[in-house]
Symmetry: C2
Subunit: 407 residues, 2 copies
């Protein structure tokens, strides 16, 4: 009971313990959740090539741009993309103001909980649904709606929060690239303003590095206060050939690495792979019905068919979720365990921590800055409780780690 | 003659000497080209406020977003915006393929060199001109056309390269903000793909931090090679109310500092100024007919009228080009002088260099990384010939300085 009462206060510390464990593991192996197979080897070989000074494959930091699809590449997109669940909850919330929805598709099906029927209406139904639920408010209001929803929304099958169904192996790829000077961008068919409110916490990707589909918006003064209003009109569909277009518009450079999981990402991989020099393209292949879902050539919403053929023809990496990934989702440590560890580190844990620390120093002989001046340098005891939710933010001297020291 | 032959080889060195001088100056005063007046004081006060840890005005690095208009704010826009001169040269280059232009406006006037007549056609004529000269090619082809042109194109009155008519005081503001953890973005009515090819060299602003007007583009495979084709249709007009819209689309955060020079920037300043916490808005006021141009309330292309009133009402900073700026354009050092200094540093210069170096170490007691490992640390002799064209790239541990060591 006492422990439960402490949960709120110690939330930072709980996540931090997980973060600490992750950091320790990465010092020895940047991709600990990947099995030692050709996929992992290809990622490491690429990063080592382009970061080796003096090598003909060397790429300056400013050109180390990596692009990631989101749904199905960085987090689970089945049975339906998360944004559709969001839209459904918005439909429910807004239904009292729209009695006409009872007889109008896709709203009628959605209100009855028939998601697949609603989705069967195809792209047009989805666009209509998005416009009705995602527009009419200011960007600030929409951001708050998304933040409130994503904080608690759960997957219908696993009961986990959607935010806890990001892919641990891909989080490691993001961190590994970031630690090697890459700027990671999301390039997703999902809504740009649906992803931005949580992408930084989940993936370490700031708003200005999120590219996605968008609605038109309009600047207005309301009682003298500037606002940006979301209009019910599609502005940009960031899918298929739209992905290279979005990359050119937002980034203005050809990426050197691209990660996707469906034919909707094919043009992004083609565009990335066709540049001069060393390039890296990877498809996440969903072949793990046991731990996640299995779908590819015949899937309706996220078909991977042409992409598989082109990957084979061009030698792109295909990561088998079943064979290449040790774990799929981040390990959710029990809050009580974490608190106990935090409050009462026993002799064994202190010994492990010392050993891990020695390993860290072996890997980084000069150490690395955890905090920027004027924040103080942290000792081992403090490091343990320092980090971010999910522990996805890579520790490097180029980045800040925000620390909350408890106790 | 010998000196001229060496010019090509030593180009890096020439610029570098200028860069060195600039860096030295900045160590003592971040804004040496600004007179000590209220404008300069307001900039420094803002930066010190938001970077002071523990203060209620402190802003985390991730939220230190600054936005800059380009034409008239970062470089000269008179007698016409530079991009119009580019369009004119494109018209001349393309004219042989378009005999119909002889009788068609705005092309006919442009071909006769009557720029003002052409511009009098207003926005519609400008859009038509842009579509005819800026589209139909791939993005890669267009980038090369811009790069080739901007490398040598000169201002009709001063005979200087347009690239040498950036504003030295504003380059110092960019560098000062960057050194204080800010991410600077251009938010310009100019073409996004017209600015990107040179914005990094001129301002230290990478392509992904350039927001501008754009045409629609399309992804295509040409003989199996992915290309992005520029289409003759306006996609986005990044002016007036479009500026906050572009900021929201590209950056996804409200900036905390904004710099402009016309009513076309007013909404951007309103949007920036209206956020919570400490905000900074500055108008560059062109009141210096002697050293540049004088124009404001009645100008046709870059009117500053409502903006002046709102600045007064809201307490925004208005920087008088005449009174607040010691110099307007970067000092162009004679190539021959620079080479002589480089090759034959005399006793006086070495003494100055030693004194400057001592000042640098006083300002940065721990030194600062000029290069990232595994590049070697540079000594004073090498520092002198290390830098970038114009010397606008700020030296800080968060950024790389690319060095070419000569000799």
């Amino acid at each position: 009971m006492k422990t439960i009462l402490k949960q709120g206060i110690l939330a930072t510390a709980i996540f931090a313990t997980v973060a600490f464990t992750t950091t320790i593991a990465r010092a020895a192996d940047p991709l600990p959740s990947w099995n030692d197979g050709p996929a992992k080897k290809s990622i490491v070989a690429f990063v080592e090539k382009v970061t080796k000074a003096g090598s003909p494959d060397f790429v300056p930091v400013s050109e180390r741009i990596a692009v990631f699809d989101n749904d199905g590449t960085l987090w689970c997109e089945k049975p339906l993309p998360v944004q559709l669940f969001f839209a459904l909850d918005r439909v429910k919330a807004l239904a009292p103001q729209h009695p006409e929805w009872e007889d109008k598709e896709p709203f009628a099906s959605l209100l009855k909980g028939e998601l697949k029927t609603a989705a069967a209406g195809g792209e047009r139904a989805i666009v209509e649904l998005m416009m009705a639920t995602h527009t009419g408010m200011t960007t600030v209001e929409f951001e708050q709606i998304v933040k409130d929803w994503i904080a608690t929304a759960k997957h219908p099958k696993t009961g986990k929060r959607f935010l806890d169904m990001t892919y641990q192996p891909m989080l490691e790829v993001l961190a590994y690239l970031r630690a090697n000077g890459f700027k990671n961008f999301i390039v997703s068919g999902g809504g740009i303003e649906f992803m931005r409110p949580w992408a930084e916490a989940a993936y370490g990707i700031p708003p200005e590095q999120v590219v996605g589909s968008s609605v038109k918006t309009k600047f207005e003064l309301r009682d003298g206060q500037p606002v940006i209003v979301r209009l019910p009109e599609l502005d940009f569909n960031d899918d298929k050939g739209g992905k290279p277009v979005g990359i050119n518009q937002h980034i203005g450079r050809q990426p050197i690495a691209a990660f996707g999981n469906s034919d909707g990402d094919l043009q992004m991989l083609q565009y990335t792979g066709a540049g001069g020099g060393t390039r890296f393209c990877l498809y996440v292949h969903h072949d793990d019905a046991g731990r996640e879902y299995a779908y590819d050539r015949t899937d309706h919403l996220a078909k991977l068919d042409k992409g598989l053929d082109e990957a084979a023809a061009k030698g792109w990496t295909v990561a088998s979720m079943k064979n290449d990934w040790k774990t799929v989702f981040p390990v959710a440590q029990s809050a009580i365990t974490a608190i106990d560890i935090l409050l009462q580190p026993d002799a064994t844990m202190l010994k492990h921590a010392a050993a891990n620390n020695a390993r860290l120093f072996k890997a980084y002989p000069k150490g690395f800055a955890l905090v920027r001046p004027p924040r103080k340098k942290l000792g081992l005891e403090e490091l343990r409780i320092c980090g971010r939710p999910h522990g996805h933010k890579e520790v490097s001297d180029a980045q800040e780690v925000y620390c909350s020291v408890v106790g």
